[in-house]
Assembly symmetry: D2
Homo-oligomer: 196 residues x 4
């Protein structure tokens, strides 16, 4: 049975590297991979999936208005055996449903990498729909500076303070993100509120 | 590190049995378990966690208005080493945050069993917050009648047709639920719409 | 694809309960389960799979000389859709290979529950072959009295001291087993050697 | 609790890439990683861990006679917070026990990547001891050319026929390895025996 996979991880957990390695493994077995990413992700130039560990590949950029099922059925299906997506939290819920349909109708595996939650510990619309519809949910783990597993994507201002207010996505912003365990994140917020 | 666990599964995947077995294992090592469930679950009598496989135990019923952190801090903390919750999808988001705080502040493991999604493949408020805040997310698997893994909780009417409209929770209703894979669920809906 | 599963766990991790619950779930979907156990396991009477949590079922007892593939092909195949085995560490390596063949030739899932290691942290012959041939290896977790995960099956004498010498399997013996984390096990051995 | 991890995978499942990415993630959190490999692995030059996906790092080469616990205690402990090992199947059982001791005594996580089995589906001595002593066992998955998960490391001769006789490790040999699912591997052997 082909499956819809959601492989979620915190910031800097090597999700893009995992996407590119998975592509490499499929290709080595002679399969053709449709590598995609949502247009909302504009880091590193629009058409690249780039991992800080030192890997990079060109990907097909999916606009918010694209019907992925239609596009796959009418065009990509001829060429590809498997779909790998990075930054999947930025797909619309409708696009996740289209990926689900591709799995069910064409028996093509769809492997989505992405963030689970934003800087306020809320699901992104795309990750929420993936958590609802995926056949397989697994975590790409990374660690907090304390050594425990990191699960929160903390947004930091220029002074390194944790920010808890603001828009879910800040395009072109200067904010930095750090993966933290929940306990360290709460402590960092408390320190900020006490004026440090 | 104590963790917040979310062990999700479809209808009839033996979540309650797993909750009771986990309690048994902890108790055998000399630890005391606070077994809880939300008041919204009224099956089998309010105060029981019952598995169709043949296991049953009395649980503490948590009202929607209860602050679980407060109650744990002020009363249960003296007695219990670990918290096990069934039907966790019916906790409020605020209550999930209280369970998260118990893990962080008192280093007590909290193990939540529950449904991932409702009959329309949408997250319950409690399961959404658990998927956002849990340190560990794992699936209690069960199978569809076709042999594949089941992930959808199909609601059936008296004639066995899949229903896709209605309230998320129907208290005292006669509807039945069947766990299905996504593909069989879509086919069942399509059959219903064609008048079978 | 049907798979060969090995679900291993330490003593008292509820392996038998998991086997019986898995059987229940398959049967509820209308599938027939061939429930088997090796003759070497003589606890609770030869023909029962019994969990201390309060579940019990009659199982087919497989003698050491039985060719499981032959028996399945010639007789059981007519009746059963899935095979569930308890105490799988006591199957011979040849029998594990026969179960592997059943998966490959008849596309019947085989789900083996069993111990990973003996009281000296060495694999049983059956679990070694399962760890070599299984498509899916997963752990049924339980805890040490210290709260960490237990992985060692400590054998205790009448005075509660950890024993590290002796036969792998002691039939009819009075020894007790306790699941421990590796660190607590080493400490318990050291204490014993110091004459405590 | 620090843990001993065994992350096993078939040939070409990107184990070395995973080892290097894990190192990257730890270092990004300010931790120092002792990257090691057994001397028996002589591919790509003795001192490199290299992944075909395009990553490479220098590693500390551990001779078969080295007591890793002694070396860690006397020298490396000052510098390193975590140990990451590649090609761990080539460590001796005694060396795996030394890594286990490092976890227990110094609370330093040890993450071992390696093959599960050889070309005849038998455990390597190092992987057997890891499967006995690891706190956490997980699979780095890859696929067979048929699309199913690969679990067997098939050795091929110059004509591409599957070989099932020979030494476990052939140093400097020309044999190639291909990861296959068990069913395809058996079929390939059968084809070879039929003179195809």
């Amino acid at each position: 049975m082909a499956k819809l996979y959601f492989k979620y991880g915190a910031m800097n957990s090597s999700k893009s590297a995992q996407a590119l390695i998975t592509k490499f493994n499929y290709e080595e077995q002679g399969m053709a991979v449709w590598l995609i990413k949502p247009a909302a992700d504009t880091r590193y130039g629009r058409e690249e999936i780039t991992s800080r560990v030192g890997l990079s590949q060109k990907a097909d950029v999916i606009e918010e208005s694209t019907d992925i099922l239609e596009r796959f059925r009418d065009r990509e299906r001829e060429f590809f055996d498997v779909i790998i997506a990075d930054e999947s939290q930025f797909f619309t819920p409708a696009q996740i449903e289209q990926l689900r349909e591709i799995v069910d109708l064409y028996h093509v595996p769809v492997i989505c990498f992405g963030l689970r939650t934003d800087f306020q510990t809320h699901l992104f619309p795309g990750s929420a729909r993936l958590l609802e519809l995926a056949d397989s949910i697994s975590e790409i783990k990374t660690i907090c500076a304390c050594g425990n597993k990191a699960i929160v994507n903390a947004r930091l201002d220029d002074d390194g303070n944790v920010i808890t207010e603001g828009a879910q996505v800040v395009l072109g912003g200067n904010d930095r993100y750090v993966a933290m365990c929940h306990s360290c994140w709460k402590k960092a917020i408390a320190r900020g509120k006490e004026g440090r």
